[in-house]
């Protein structure tokens, strides 16, 4: 078991290294950031000086080596545009994104689980069919367009909710969070709904499928025969059993929520990491792009690793086949 975890850890490290090389070389190929940063009237000497000060006169592999050796000490380079360490820039924006992603996840769970249960318990009812049709719509609607429509309805027509920004924040444990202020909540409601929609549809379908499978199992029939009230059968016996795959999916999907936040943050001008990435791509701020991608790749590798290890401890069959492959 320990051997398996060690091997899996080594694999993850390899993935990180390969991805960092790909990202670095790839991002190196885009445009020349000096053209954007420098005054157009600058002469050759000035251009050469700026190029050298940014380290752009070195060959790619030297730049990569400098990058990777600095990266191990947590230094991912300085932003060309603002001359602030890229890591710091991203970490400043991270709480906003994580807060948004977590709120969206919680929203999806609170709404998705009951709806999915309902649809699974009465699959032929009109309500269940409407819920399922709604979930197909949730899968089909492009996130950015739903965001635009939310702004159109609730900001432009009704004027209830603000369309951009994060609103007032309070400092909690050193982090600026908007969830604890009324203004912040008002700003967050639309972006969080927008981000939650896709996961909500996924959760509804998962819960429904799980419930339908569980309802015909022997343990449900036995609980009923024992005289357990129907409410308790559903809320204790069924729910406990279907929660295992659902919790796994929620964990796995968290990374993708962070990635999808790029779209939502752009629509609502939410000052998170995703908006920073799009802004950085537009001004060719290479260190920030590379740093963002490295952090995201790291996040995904960690999530996948955790899920794999969790699986092997929960299910011996996976461990055996994993050890052989």
């Amino acid at each position: 078991m320990l051997f398996y975890i060690l091997r899996r850890l080594a694999q993850s490290l390899l993935v990180l290294l390969v991805m960092s090389a790909l990202v670095f070389v790839g991002v190196f190929a885009i445009g020349n950031p000096v053209d954007i940063l420098i005054n157009p009237q600058a002469d050759q000497a000035e251009i050469a000086r700026v190029t050298a000060s940014l380290g752009l006169d070195q060959p790619v592999w030297v730049q990569y080596w400098n990058f990777i050796s600095a990266a191990f000490s947590g230094d991912l380079g300085k932003s060309f545009a603002s001359n602030v360490p890229a890591m710091q820039l991203i970490l400043q924006r991270m709480p906003a994104t994580v807060e948004l992603a977590l709120s969206a996840m919680v929203m999806a769970i609170i709404i998705g689980l009951p709806l999915g249960l309902w649809a699974g318990l009465r699959p032929d009812s009109f309500a269940a069919k409407s819920i399922m049709a709604g979930s197909i719509l949730g899968f089909s609607l492009p996130t950015f367009w739903v965001g635009l429509m939310l702004i159109m309805i609730f900001s432009v027509w009704l004027g209830w909710l603000p369309s951009t920004g994060r609103g007032a924040t309070v400092e909690v444990l050193g982090l600026h969070l908007s969830i604890f202020t009324w203004d912040g909540l008002k700003h967050m409601l639309m972006p969080a709904t927008n981000l939650a929609l896709f996961k909500l549809s996924l959760l509804i379908r998962l819960t429904r499928a799980g419930t339908r499978e569980a309802m015909v199992q022997d343990y449900v029939r036995f609980a009923r025969a024992k005289g357990v009230p129907e409410n308790r059968v559903v809320s204790v016996h069924v729910l406990k059993n279907i929660l295992i795959p659902i919790v796994t999916i929620i964990g796995l999907e968290f990374g993708s929520v962070i990635a999808f936040a790029i779209i939502t943050e752009t629509v609502f001008a939410w000052p998170g990491m995703g908006k920073l990435l799009i802004d950085s791509i537009n001004v060719l701020d290479r260190p920030v792009i590379v740093a963002y991608l490295m952090i995201i790749v790291f996040l995904f590798v960690i999530i996948n690793l955790a899920v794999d290890i969790l699986y092997t401890t929960l299910d011996p069959r996976v461990r055996l086949s994993g050890a052989r492959a």
Binding site: A29, I30, W145, V156, F260, L277, I278, V297
Partner: protein, 299 residues
Amino acid sequence: MSDAITVSTAPASSLREFAANYSKSRIALAALGVLMLILAVALCAPLISPQNPYDLAQLDIMDSKLAPGAKSGAGWTFWLGTDDQGRDMLSAIFHGLRISLGVGVTSTLVALAIGIVVGLLAAYVGGWVEAIIMRLVDLQLSFPSILIALILLAILGQGVDKIVVALITVQWAYYARTVRGAALVEKRKEYVDAAICLGYSPVRIVLRHIMPNVLPPLIVVATVQVAHAIALEATLSFLGLGMPITSPSLGLLISNGFTHLLSGKYWISFFPGIALLVTIVAINLVGDQLRDVLNPRLK
């Protein structure tokens, strides 16, 4: 002789059976109709559009940002309004559909071809070839497609060809995995043993015997993937990393309308979005029904 007749009539009757099975769902039939209509509109866009939205000579700045149903200076009606350059939105949507569908279908077909070749190779050759290919597929599928496409476009820059490359890269892994799974099952069946005993070459066995049997599940995946590709392209265009301004897809039209949305001019974003939505939903519904009909377990 009677054998030959049964063989020749089998495809026709199974096709009729397929059509009958498909028509059992009215919603799926309606979706197919809508999809055909959308395809027809996309193909004939230059013929049926009220104006050529990208011929500057036909645009009049006096017509800019008119509400749906308003009359133009020349006397005809803009049923879906106009954008900031006085372009008829209906015509822009017809042309946008053409571009969106073109990009979606092209990238899906190329990715499908790559996925089939790679997946068959992995399944039939096995060994380290399979190990490398499947590791790569696993690695790619562990990241969301939007992220991979974003990275690629940040590197490659803008352009129709680049977005097609990004969409192909995002999709091929799904097909490779599906093909390999199906081909592994087929490989163990008796007809493959029979073909080997007959002395056929591996290439012939893979292409003529195994491939036709792995295609049905792929058709379903590919149908749904076209919708996925269209949505992804629209999203990337909206983020400003997709189509160039010279090929305005539906996503780019929506993006252009975003700035006017806040001043209450909803139609510039709203109608292209509806067109996008109807297309995606229709494709998904058709894909769903195809899956049910082609699934042998449900027969």
